[in-house]
Structures are given as structure tokens and as C-alpha cells.
């Protein structure tokens, strides 16, 4: 069955969609209007909107350098059949964000039926800058560049010592081009040497791991010489590392869920069932 993608609010850059649509179809539709969901790991694009919003990624994207939720509103069916609908808004202070009861909950608290997703302008041009040096220094450069309001849109690492780190920036506007120039200046200040951008490499990208910023040095150091890892959905605090299954075997999985909130999560599930 082909699910219809609903309307696009071009002023707010919001798209209304049933949750059974694949994220890739949403992205395709957005691109026809010059919009995008921004950099996302391949696994997200393979999923349905519902799987993305209810899964561990919880509909996350990067906005202003911050990992945020790209759902502006959701409609959820609870166990008793009742339907909860939140209001799309840029921000709200009408109490806690109850959408987050359901986002990332693996469907255990309700089934997300529909969503309004935020989009951003599709960038037409980009610039890539590459530097080589010790993994530790490259990680420090990467971390510094991600602590600006707009982090790089992507990164590619070729393992070794020296390793090569290539950062990808949008280049549609003067501000974005200045941003890339500042990153190159910073690399030189770190004492890194200019390198050729690695270029396209045929590789399966079927291994993914969320990597917090304080583990980027470990990640860069663990990549075997000549192996490639891509970083996407880069925020100040975290990025998603993507590589082949073969390379992934050498890399640590970094983010563990906290168990401290499990009793509260359990009680919340029970309270919702009594709803």
C-alpha cells in the first residue's frame, strides 16, 4: 500500500506524514522542494518514520549544532485505542514535552501514527577540507570544530598514524564559506598538514555506532590503517560513525543506555496502561 505524504508547510519547513512512510521517501519528497532532513545515518533512511521516531534514534537530527528531535508534533494511539495528538510549534512551555513519552520508547507506550517533521534548507554546494596528523590531534581539531554553532555536516576518517580527517561544510552562503576557511585555519594552528581529500571509496556502510564527543579520540585511534569511517549527524556532543562490517569489528560501541531510569520507565508504562 502506498501511503500518501501530506502537505508541506514551506514557511515553517514542516512536512506532515503518516508514520508508515519510509524516511527515504520523505527525504525524496522534501528534496523536490529544496528541503532536507539533514545528514542522517543510512539506517535511518532505511526505516519507516515510525521506526525512526520510536527507535533508539528517537527522530534525532542536528539543529544549530545541537542534537534535537526533528518531530514538531506526533499523533499516537495508546493501548486503549485513544489517540493523543501534540501541537506543532517551534518551541513550547505548556508543561513537559509529552511527545517525548513516546519518542524513543520502542512503541512500548503507544504507536506513533503520524508526525509533523521539521526540515531544513537543502544545501546545493559544499566544500571539503582534509588534514593529516596524529589521531589525537585530529580528534582535538574535530572537537573544536563541533563546538561552534554550526558543526561540519559530515566527516571522513582514514585510519593510520598519521590519519587523515576530512570535514565537509556547506558552501551556499558567504557565512558557510567563511566557516570552512576558519576550520582550515584552525587545522593549521593545530599543526596539522594539508592532505588530499580521500575521495569516494566503494564500501558497504552497514555498521553504525553513536560516538560521544569525549570518545572521538578513541575512535580515531582504533581505526586500522587505510580503513575508512564516516561521521554523520555530527553535533557538539555526539556523532554517528558509519563504516563497513569489517572495519566496525575493530571499533568500540560507545553509548550505553542508563539503567537508573528503568524503574520510572516501568511505572510510566503501567500508568499509561491504566489511563
Amino acid at each position: 500500500m502506498i501511503e500518501e505524504i501530506g502537505s508541506i508547510d514551506e514557511a515553517a519547513m514542516w512536512i506532515e506524514i503518516p508514520s508508515t512512510v519510509s524516511v527515504w521517501r520523505v527525504e525524496e519528497r522534501l528534496r523536490t522542494r529544496g528541503l532536507t532532513l539533514g545528514p542522517q545515518p543510512p539506517s535511518v533512511l532505511r526505516r519507516t518514520v515510525r521506526e525512526w521516531l520510536e527507535g533508539p534514534n528517537a527522530g534525532r537530527w542536528v539543529e544549530g549544532g545541537r542534537l534535537a528531535c526533528c518531530a514538531a508534533a506526533i499523533k499516537v494511539r495508546l493501548d486503549d485505542g485513544s489517540v493523543v495528538r501534540t501541537l506543532p510549534a517551534p518551541r513550547s512551555a505548556m508543561g513537559p514535552s509529552i511527545a517525548h513519552v513516546f519518542l524513543g520508547s520502542q512503541g512500548s507506550r503507544g504507536e506513533i501514527l503520524w508526525a509533523v517533521l521539521r526540515a531544513q534548507r537543502l544545501r546545493r554546494r559544499s566544500v571539503e577540507i582534509a588534514y593529516e596528523g596524529p589521531p589525537r590531534t585530529l580528534a582535538a581539531w574535530l572537537q573544536q570544530e563541533c563546538r561552534r554553532i554550526e558543526p561540519p555536516r559530515g566527516a571522513e576518517i582514514v585510519g593510520g598514524n598519521p590519519a587523515v580527517l576530512s570535514l565537509l561544510f556547506s558552501a551556499d552562503t558567504e557565512l558557510e564559506r567563511a566557516r570552512a576557511t576558519a576550520a582550515a585555519d584552525a587545522a593549521r594552528a593545530f599543526g596539522l598538514g594539508r592532505a588530499e581529500t580521500p575521495g569516494l571509496a566503494a564500501s558497504e556502510r552497514d555498521w553504525e555506532s553513536e560516538v560521544p564527543a569525549d570518545a572521538w579520540e578513541s575512535l580515531l585511534s582504533a581505526i586500522p590503517a587505510g580503513h575508512r569511517v564516516w561521521l554523520t549527524r555530527i553535533a557538539r556532543e555526539t556523532a554517528v560513525a558509519v563504516t563497513s562490517e569489517v572495519t566496525g569489528r575493530h571499533l568500540p560501541v560507545m553509548v550505553e543506555p542508563s539503567l537508573e531510569l528503568e524503574p520510572l520507565a516501568e511505572r510510566l508504562g503501567q500508568a499509561l496502561r491504566l489511563h
Binding site: R66, A89, A93, G95, V101, R118, D172
Partner: protein, 521 residues
């Protein structure tokens, strides 16, 4: 239609029972408890304008039995466990700068938990660029510490001198630089939070699955007490630059704001004044590089001291039926936008140039840097004039809504139209994002007769919120819900959404002791 507290005439407060006090002394120690009438009265109120009007009638919301001062999360945990066993309501209180009655108890018999001894203020973690701070620390003290260390949080609400970090989180506060740095919920890395059960939890980001931080932010002390928070911080900007623009109509300016943000620029200040606010703050005879008037302040609307009685009467007379005053908007349609850029020199220059191009394309006239620089110097003033309005026999209140860009202008006109018969109304647009914007309305009314003033206040809110709901706006952007907006929560969340909120409360606070009556209709 709102649920308001049981008001009491001013008089002697009933003494709490000896058994209660000895229990509390055992739990916290005698130094962490106050039963003084002054402390109890202070803890019973915030800056809610409606409560100020009640006071004019000699009526007060119920004072707590005692005020408790936990010094760390474990103190709060012991209080909550004890109160849960006995079903005693607990109302968290911080700087009391809220404007919606969030700390006002609905009934007598509650305990107030004052957060001001949760005062950890350690130097920031330079390596991680994060800072951890106690919930009771005043915003201004936190930012001053960061400034000394070469950082900023990027959060500058008008209440910064009197609001606490915990209050910011409780209400999902927004500061004047929100367009660049986000709202407070965007800045939190980790919370320390004591649930109604007495459990101490540490929701943190990023984590796979549920983002619990989003659930505790904005919970107004009804899910738990935030005792400490860790925030992302930024290096203090090397350069900052202002520029102001006058647009022929508000719609031109809104288009420019949207275009600037959607292009990827993040100005630190993006503040548009509606025609009335512009007329009062940036009169045409004051334009130019060197001669801007001061930024909006309610002093502009009110006679200066000494306030002669006839003038005061004249103003109150005019405000009983504010339609004529609201007609001022028809005299002039132009609107002034103040832009601020900060960061490193390269980004400030590139961003300012790009923003200038957008403003010029939207028919903006460049007013130069002076209006913005002056705004920066005087930006805390307008809130300081609110008490003057009350002293003069009037009332003033504010309402912050938010909506996607497609609805901003329509929402502005709809609320102004709805409110025009009830209150003098002006607005600015000061928290903007790539997908939408907040509108901050200021309402002014007469209240020499407090009962009439209360009626006018109620009518103003009802008209404004009904218009906002009909336009599809969220009814709060950064003040929270409190008691003033509680009745409207269901309009926004629906019956099913209220059920989810109740389930969340039951999970965090099964005994229902935390700030009862809030988030209920």
C-alpha cells in the same frame, strides 16, 4: 474559568503543629526550617499580576505551614518520602520571579521547599565545556561566574537578576539570545532530580531512547525537584555587533527574520518591535546613528514621578476602554528590528553582511548600530517598571505565544483584535527559530477599582488565549503554565494529552504531593 486558590484575608497565620515541626527538624535539622510569617508569606507568591491585584483587595493565597531549605538532593528526598507517607503537599519555590502563579498553593496546609540553599557554583569543566550548578543559584550569579571564567551560557532572560537556574528549567525559560543559543531545555546536558517518591535520578543527554530531560523541563515541580543541572557552555564571544532596521510593515520584517534564520545564520539578538512598541521606543524624530531613544520601557506609557492625581486619573480613564489607545497602531505601521551578531570576527562580519542583504531586500531601512547598542545597555529596564504600573493603580501582564512562520502575522493581528476592547496591547517578536517565532504581548489595564481591574484582566486573558488557540498557536513559549494558564492546558493537549500528563505524574509522584493542582483543570 481558571482554577484559582482559596484566598484569605491578611491576618495572623495559623501556627504549624508541634508534631510536624519536630518531624521536620529530625529530617532536616532545625536550621533548615522557617515558620516565620514573613518567610511563609514570601514563599506563597511570585510575580503573578493577578495575585498582585488580589493583594490590593487585602486577599492572599494560602501561605505554607513552613518553609524548608534543603541543601542537597538527599535532603529533598527525605522530605518527599516523609510528605508522601502523610499526603502533605509540597510546593517547590525558587526566585519567585514567575508570572503565572506556579508557586501559589491552591489550598492551605502545604510545605514550601525553597531551593536557594541548593547553591553549588563550581568553576566550569573547561575540557568538556560544561558547567554544573545548584538549582537555587540565581541566574545572574551563574552567568557572572561563567563570565569570570571566559564563558557564557547564552541565556539571558529579563528575570536573570531574580530567577534561579531551577526556575528556568521548571518553566522552560528563554533568554534574549535564544535565536543563537536556544532555550534552556536546549542547553541542559544532565539533571539531578528528586522524584516525589524520593528517588534521585540523573536524566542525561545524549542517550538512546527516551529523552527524559525533555520531560522534566517544564514540569514546574510537579514531577520532581531539580536540584542540580549541567549545561553546555560557550566561550565568551570575541566580537559583538548590532544593527537596527526600520521596515514599512511588520510582515516585511517577519519575512526578513525567517529568511535570515533559514539561511543558517544564528544572530544572537533578533528582536522585532510592533508598530506601537516601535512608536514608543524608536520615534521617527530619534532615528539616525547618534540619536536613538531608549528601548521599550513602560515608563513611556505612564506619568513619571511625582505622579499628579489628575494625570493618574486620566490614564486610568483611558485604560478602562483602551480601544482609542490601541488605535495608535493605525497612526504608523513601521516596525523596527534589532539584530545582534556575536562570535568570532569572521562569523560576525559574514553574518551581519548576509543579514543586511536580506533586510534590504525586505525594504528595511538601515538605522545603524546605535539603537541596538542602546537596547543592549538598557535591556533589563522594562521589567523594572512593572511595579510602577501597579503603584499607579493599573495592571500590566505579558503573554508569550509561539507558532510556525506561516501563522505569525495572522496570530499577531488576531490577538491584538481580540484584546483591543479589554487592554492596551503592544508586542515584540524576540525568540525566533528556523521554523517559527514567539510573540511577546504586553497588556496594560486600569485597576483603581480592583474588582473591575480583575474583571478586565480576566477578560483580556480569555480573549487573547481563545484567539491564540483558534490560530493554532501554543499558548506558552517560555513562562510555563502556572495557575493562570492551567485551564487552557487541556485546550492545547486535549483530554487524551492530559491523561498522558496525569500518567507521567503518577509515575513520578504516586502520592500526588508535588505542587498539586498544577497541570490540572
Amino acid at each position: 474559568m481558571s482554577r484559582f486558590p482559596q484566598l484569605q484575608p491578611f491576618g495572623e497565620l495559623p501556627a504549624p503543629s508541634g508534631a510536624l515541626l519536630s518531624d521536620l527538624a529530625r529530617i532536616l535539622g532545625p536550621d533548615a526550617i522557617s515558620v516565620s510569617p514573613q518567610d511563609r508569606l514570601e514563599a506563597s507568591r511570585d510575580m503573578w499580576p493577578r495575585a498582585i491585584l488580589w493583594r490590593r483587595k487585602g486577599l492572599y493565597p494560602p501561605a505554607p505551614q513552613a518553609v524548608l531549605y534543603p541543601s542537597h538532593a538527599e535532603d529533598a528526598a527525605r522530605i518527599f518520602r516523609w510528605a508522601s507517607e502523610r499526603g502533605i503537599p509540597v510546593v517547590p519555590v525558587g526566585g519567585r520571579s514567575g508570572v503565572l502563579g506556579g508557586v501559589v498553593a491552591l489550598e492551605a496546609g502545604a510545605l514550601a521547599v525553597d531551593t536557594r540553599r541548593l547553591a553549588d557554583l563550581d568553576p566550569p569543566d573547561r575540557e568538556r565545556m560544561e558547567a554544573t550548578v545548584g538549582a537555587g543559584v540565581l541566574g545572574a550569579d551563574f552567568e557572572s561566574m561563567l563570565e569570570r571564567e571566559g564563558f557564557t551560557l547564552g541565556h539571558a532572560p529579563a528575570s536573570i537578576g531574580g530567577s534561579t537556574v531551577g526556575g528556568w528549567i521548571a518553566t522552560r525559560s528563554a533568554g534574549q539570545n535564544s535565536s543563537r543559543y536556544g532555550k534552556i531545555e536546549d542547553m541542559v546536558v544532565e539533571l539531578e532530580c528528586v522524584l516525589g517518591t524520593g528517588e534521585i535520578v540523573h536524566p542525561a543527554r545524549p542517550t538512546p531512547g527516551t529523552d527524559w530531560v525533555e520531560l522534566f523541563c517544564g514540569s514546574e515541580g510537579s514531577l520532581g525537584l531539580v536540584t542540580r543541572a549541567t549545561f553546555r557552555i560557550w566561550p565568551r564571544p570575541a566580537v559583538s555587533r548590532f544593527r537596527a532596521w526600520r521596515f514599512p510593515r511588520i510582515e516585511n520584517a517577519l519575512d526578513a527574520m525567517r529568511e535570515i534564520l533559514q539561511s543558517g545564520a544564528r544572530p544572537s539578538v533578533l528582536r522585532l518591535y510592533d508598530p506601537i512598541d516601535t512608536l514608543l521606543s524608536f520615534p521617527p524624530w530619534g532615528e539616525g546613528e547618534g540619536a536613538p531613544r531608549r528601548p521599550p520601557g513602560l515608563r513611556e506609557l505612564w506619568p513619571r514621578t511625582p505622579r499628579p492625581v489628575p494625570l493618574r486619573r486620566l490614564w486610568n480613564f483611558a485604560l478602562w476602554d483602551p480601544r482609542a489607545l490601541n488605535g495608535l497602531a493605525r497612526l504608523r505601521r513601521s516596525a523596527v528590528l534589532v539584530l545582534g551578531h556575536e562570535g568570532e570576527a569572521w562569523e560576525v562580519e559574514a553574518e551581519a553582511r548576509a543579514a543586511a542583504e536580506v533586510c534590504a531586500r525586505s525594504e528595511g531601512k538601515d538605522l545603524g548600530p546605535a539603537p541596538g547598542e542602546r537596547w543592549m545597555r538598557h535591556r533589563w529596564e522594562s521589567a523594572r517598571h512593572f511595579p510602577t504600573v501597579f503603584e499607579m493603580g493599573g495592571w500590566v501582564d505579558t503573554l508569550e505565544l509561539a507558532i510556525g512562520w506561516g501563522g505569525v502575522a495572522r496570530l499577531y493581528h488576531a490577538v491584538r483584535k481580540a484584546v483591543a476592547p479589554h487592554a492596551f496591547c503592544m508586542a515584540h517578536f524576540s525568540h525566533a527559530y528556523p521554523d517559527g517565532c514567539s510573540i511577546y504581548f504586553t497588556f496594560l489595564g486600569a485597576a483603581e477599582d480592583p474588582d473591575r481591574g480583575l474583571g478586565q484582566h480576566e477578560a483580556t486573558w480569555a480573549a487573547a488565549l481563545a484567539a491564540a488557540r483558534d490560530e493554532g498557536a501554543t499558548l506558552s513559549h517560555h513562562h510555563g503554565v502556572g495557575l493562570q494558564k492551567a485551564a487552557w492546558l487541556e485546550q492545547e493537549l486535549g483530554d487524551e494529552g492530559m491523561g498522558v500528563l496525569r500518567a507521567l505524574r503518577r509515575a513520578c509522584d504516586p502520592a500526588g504531593i508535588l505542587n498539586p493542582g498544577k497541570f490540572e483543570t
